[in-house]
């Protein structure tokens, strides 16, 4: 190696400056607390995953500014799982055995998370779930804490069927992606439909690679349902909304929507614009719902999101990613330990204060009280990003404590036709 005098002086200078940095002395010498996860940064969940990463990194920065966890700096390690469930077991094994992480976050979404559940149960590890749906249903891991504002499919969609019952709707059509998450949701919704006494007049699963939904939409129209319940992933959701606008679902329909993933993402909402009017769909957060600290979070997030070219508003996932870190922080500070069992006990027995409100868990590791919103898109104009910041464009129909308006039915009327 060629050591010049300039290089030696530069190196020594850099070392001296680094040693003198004020933050450095704040951390103890035991090495960092490593938190690891895989995150879909490409593939169908990549857009949501990258936006949420911005928020998780914000929490890491914030906790480090406060002196880290147990006086140790927090180091965050993340790998891209490409929304590919085949990759996540390998990534988590690497995180545990090679990177030697202390704590784990689950990847965003059901599909990438499901395959790592046996691994974390076998090793007795705490896992903070991240918008997963029913992945612990059969595994029954008692150290699983899912950060999703709904426990099961029924609590997720109660709001949709409540509106349907109000309108006296008696028939329903189901359209669901042929994939685990959508199927689980659809099965829960079918249970609710059964309870509500709604007759299924159309029930179709479609392959996730479907390009055009025109013929499917035409078949739904022919079935003349009063409710159309859709469980779809982002690409399909856009194609379905377009097909619904082009082909129409018929005047019999009172309610359309339910479980369409993607209609919460700003770029999708912005592009679809007025085509969304009238759709009743789930959401995790919409402007107008007040939680302590959330406005400040969005102010900071939106600055960073613009730099990193991710969801510019970030209402759906990012605050929940930040809250996931907040819960872990409170458990570590509360137990003064990184012991996985102690942390799990703490999370089971305490209510955590987060930017998405207070969160407590039931014995299955799901939110004790569901807070999934059912909203209706109203008065949406085309090509207008700013409108999404205003309350009233996504009217909250359910649950009652966050309600901002009544549903407009039938669907044609809600669409202004």
């Amino acid at each position: 190696m060629n050591f010049t005098r300039r290089k030696v002086i530069a190196g020594a200078g850099a070392a001296a400056v680094a040693a003198a940095l004020p933050g450095r002395s704040a951390f103890a010498q035991a090495g960092p607390v490593k938190i690891g996860m895989s995150m879909p940064q490409t593939g169908s969940l990549g857009a949501g995953g990258k936006a949420e990463l911005v928020a998780i990194r914000m929490w890491v920065d914030d906790v480090n500014k406060k002196g880290g966890l147990l006086g140790r700096k927090v180091e965050f390690i993340v790998y891209d799982d490409q929304t590919n469930p085949a990759l996540t077991p390998g990534i988590y094994t690497k995180l545990l055995d090679v990177d030697k992480v202390d704590l784990l976050f689950a990847p965003y979404g059901t599909v990438p998370t499901a395959p790592i559940m046996p691994l974390v149960k076998q090793r007795g590890l705490l896992l903070m779930g991240n918008f997963s749906f029913q992945v612990n249903h059969t595994v029954k891991h008692d150290m699983w804490f899912n950060n999703l504002p709904a426990g099961d499919a029924q609590s997720w969609f109660e709001g949709f069927f409540e509106q349907g019952q109000k309108a006296g709707a008696k028939t329903i059509a189901f359209l669901a992606a042929d994939q685990e998450f959508a199927q689980n949701l659809a099965n829960g919704a079918k249970e609710l439909a059964k309870k509500a006494g709604a007759k299924t007049v159309y029930d179709q699963n479609y392959p996730p690679t479907t390009t055009d939904f025109s013929s499917l939409m035409r078949a739904i129209r022919a079935a003349q349902p009063e409710m159309v319940f859709v469980c779809s992933y982002p690409n399909d959701s856009v194609a379905i909304v377009r097909a619904m606008n082009e082909i129409g679902v018929g005047s019999s329909v009172k309610l359309f929507g339910g479980g369409m993933v993607g209609l919460q993402f700003t770029p999708v909402m912005e592009s679809l614009g007025s085509m969304l009017n009238g759709i009743v769909n789930y959401n995790s957060y919409v402007p107008g719902v007040k939680y302590a600290g959330i406005d400040e979070f969005f102010r900071r997030y939106q600055q960073k999101a613009a730099e990193e070219k991710v969801d510019p508003l970030g209402f759906y996932l990012p605050p929940f990613g930040y809250a996931m870190g907040q819960m872990l922080e409170q458990a570590v500070n509360g137990t003064k330990s990184l012991d996985q069992k102690k942390l799990a006990q703490y999370l089971h027995s305490h209510t955590m204060q987060t930017i998405v409100g207070p969160i407590s868990y039931n014995k299955d590791g799901e939110w004790a009280k569901s807070r999934m919103l059912m909203i209706q898109f109203r008065g949406i104009a085309d090509k207008n990003l700013e409108q999404w910041r205003q309350p009233g464009k996504q009217v909250v129909l359910y649950p009652a404590q966050y309600k901002t308006g009544d549903v407009i039915m039938p669907f044609d009327k809600a669409r202004g036709k």
Binding site: S44, A47, K50, Q82, Q204, P207, L216, R218, E246, F265
Partner: protein
């Protein structure tokens, strides 16, 4: 259980439009793989990059997506020529039995680079374009509604096919491209340079990819990894057509589109069978006619 006649007819109509779109996205591959024998598995990735370029041009200059696609063809033509020259110098020129396998590895690598490049440049969010005909439909008799976006894509696909077919049969270079596919040494004896002809043809194939990309972003939203959904479909169309046949590509696209559209609404089969039925059809047709529908 059968399908009501009106529903079936509409499904066929939707299938024809979808099939035209499938033919358009396969046209470039029909030239590069079908005629030139270049295993261009990066074709769908190039097409998706064409969608993103269209998205950029539409957003920047407010052009119609199809016009933006046409405006981008010279750029993609030159890029295609450069890619082929690189492929020729590194793989084809050296020859050997492994050329094909190495070529596939090269084009897979190219597809991956394009995908990562798109993520870096545009992020992973879905991108869509707006145009007056997107989200609108043409209402025919008996309240039959045809989505305008698939109609526009179908129309563009037909124009592209006719233009390519005429170019291949009526121009000197077009006939030379067909000749290089049939007998390269003979073309060399005639004094033409097969490498330059192939380079030109690969440029045309890549230029058609950007047009296909413009249609893709009209039909639905795009994301950087979307090319993977189209590798199987485009190769199926080209093989089913009979390598290098433009008319065959349209016919094969229509067969896939119509079968997919009917299976989607078939009450007994179920929509989940749609991709499988397309490929079963491919296997059956190849079993009866190994050279494809229009292959010689």
């Amino acid at each position: 259980m059968g399908i009501p006649l009106d529903l079936l007819l509409e499904a066929v109509l939707f299938g024809i439009l979808l099939g035209g779109f499938y033919a358009a996205v396969s046209m470039g591959l029909s030239v590069s793989f079908g005629l030139l024998d270049v295993p261009n598995v990066a074709h769908p990735a190039i097409m998706v990059s064409g969608s993103y370029c269209t998205y950029f041009v539409v957003g920047r200059f407010g052009l119609d997506p199809i016009v933006a696609g046409v405006a981008l063809t010279p750029l993609f033509f030159l890029l295609g020529m450069a890619v082929y020259r690189f492929y020729y110098e590194v793989f084809e020129k050296r020859g050997g039995r492994e050329t094909g396998v190495r070529g596939i590895a090269f084009f897979f690598g190219l597809a991956l680079i394009i995908e990562v490049g798109l993520i870096l440049a545009f992020g992973v969010d879905q991108r869509m374009v707006e145009a007056p005909y997107i989200g609108k439909s043409l209402v025919l008799v008996n309240d039959i509604r045809i989505p305008m976006r698939t109609l526009v894509a179908f129309g563009a696909a037909i124009v592209l096919t006719v233009a390519l077919t005429l170019y291949m049969s009526k121009t000197f270079t077009g006939r030379a491209i067909k000749a290089v596919a049939q007998d390269e040494p003979a073309l060399r004896l005639m004094g033409a340079n097969p490498v330059r002809i192939k380079q030109w043809a690969f440029g045309i194939a890549t230029a058609t990819s950007v047009l296909a990309g413009a249609m893709l972003i009209i039909v639905g939203p795009v994301e950087p990894g979307m090319d993977r959904d189209y590798i199987g479909r485009t190769f199926a169309v080209v093989v089913l057509a009979g390598l290098g046949s433009m008319t065959g590509t349209v016919a094969a696209g229509l067969i896939l589109g119509i079968s997919e559209s009917i299976v989607l609404i078939h009450p007994s089969l179920g929509a989940s069978w749609a991709p499988a039925v397309s490929f079963i059809l491919l296997l059956v047709i190849l079993g009866v006619r190994p050279q494809g529908l229009f292959g010689r």
